[in-house]
């Protein structure tokens, strides 16, 4: 850490490592999938930690990390106005088409 103002309590400084969310794209996956979170001092360390924590079992071919505070998320209060209106609109799903067998990711 290159923070030039030394913190008098090392414990606090350690606890100040920001939280990162980790997304991994698996060998067979089309998208990066959220797999968990971790603490790291900077982006480089976050990628290194993500590699060690979340791809130990041969899962990944690509990693994204993003500071958790940079994620804007919908809240529970908005659940109904956000999501309920789509529940009865079956015509938005391509269920009326015949899907060829060799198209796996619809």
């Amino acid at each position: 850490m290159s923070d030039s103002t030394p913190d008098p309590t090392a414990e606090t400084a350690r606890g100040d490592w920001p939280l990162y969310e980790v997304f991994v794209r698996g060998k067979r996956g089309l998208n990066h999938v959220h797999v968990g979170s971790l603490h790291a001092a900077d982006d480089t360390m976050a990628l290194t930690h993500a590699r060690d924590l979340y791809t130990r079992r041969n899962e990944g071919v690509s990693i994204w990390v993003v500071r958790s505070e940079h994620i804007a998320a919908s809240t529970r209060d908005e659940k109904d106005p956000f999501f309920a209106p789509s529940a009865d609109k079956v015509y938005r799903h391509p269920t009326f088409y015949d899907i060829p067998e060799d198209v796996p990711h619809i």
């Binding site: 850490m1 030394p6 971790l38 930690h49 041969n58 198209v103």
Partner: protein, 275 residues
């Protein structure tokens, strides 16, 4: 696979891993490698080379494992244990090869658990006590740079097994070196305290450089790495101070025997046990 079926190629996996979200696809590093000893390769020298490289890896792995439950961060604990497991994997393959080559047919356990300190051929830098985090990072930087430079040469070794182990190890060691270099820079360029400790660690490892370069002629490569990292970290280059003797001849510090006593205690108390 044809280009117009991009989904099929992405979905292509391994036969029996459909239960696993991310697949398995594990690779046997020795798959398809001929294990017969080629003519013209001196079996005794090849076995000795394998044992020395395996001893470096096993002893380093044991020191790295000492960080488990004690590392400054959970994430670092997993990272250090991962690196130790990579090295343990290298050691296992190399011991197994030594047993095939030296005619004794000994398995990896015979080498790891049933030899005493005098019989170990690891360099002494690997066996020094775990020290603080700065020391571990600096030692890992030196040892991984040294081993990586040698493994790059070994990947064209006439023995196909040693060449395959080295080729696999190059990828692992490249990561170990990167991990260690990032930490040495971070600590050297960090607070006054982290700088002081990292500088001290550099001074502590310097006397053990001699036997590294006596063992393998890769001094230029290692010095180039250290120069780049110390410059970025704002640290002085460690002063090269030769120390007599080498772990390659079985000369060790007083720290190896206790390490082995812990490593070997279960195997010796219950020889041949399985679980």
């Amino acid at each position: 696979m044809s280009d117009d079926h991009v989904y099929l190629s992405l979905a292509e996996g391994h036969e029996d891993d459909t239960r696993w979200a991310y697949g398995t696809g594990f690779e046997d590093p020795l798959h398809g490698v001929d294990t017969t000893v080629l003519e013209g390769v001196a079996a005794d020298l090849l076995a000795a080379d394998c044992v020395a490289l395996a001893d470096d890896a096993l002893v380093s792995a044991q020191r790295l494992a000492e960080w488990t439950t004690r590392a400054p961060e959970l994430e670092e604990e997993v990272a250090l244990a991962n690196i130790g497991l990579d090295l343990l994997g290298q050691a296992r393959l190399l011991y197994a090869r030594a047993g095939q080559v030296d005619g004794t047919g000994r398995g990896e356990d015979a080498y790891a658990y049933f030899r005493d300190a005098d019989d170990f051929r690891n360099v002494r830098l690997a066996e020094l006590p775990v020290g603080d985090f700065a020391f571990s990072a600096v030692r890992l930087l030196v040892l991984s740079s040294w081993r990586l430079a040698h493994f790059e040469e070994l990947s064209s070794h006439p023995d196909p097994v040693l060449a395959a182990v080295a080729a696999k190890g190059v990828k692992e060691l490249t990561y170990h070196r990167q991990y260690a270099a990032e930490w040495v820079v971070r600590l050297g360029d960090g607070t006054d305290e982290s700088h002081r400790r990292t500088r001290r660690a550099m001074e502590q490892v310097a006397p053990y450089f001699g036997e590294l370069f006596t063992a393998y002629d890769v001094r230029d490569e290692v010095v180039a790495v250290l120069r780049q990292v110390t410059e970025a970290a704002g640290l002085p280059m460690p002063v090269y101070r030769p120390l007599t003797g080498t772990g390659r001849d079985g000369e060790h510090t007083e720290h190896l025997a206790p390490l082995l006593a812990e490593l070997q205690s279960v195997a010796r108390a219950h020889p041949g046990a399985t679980w």
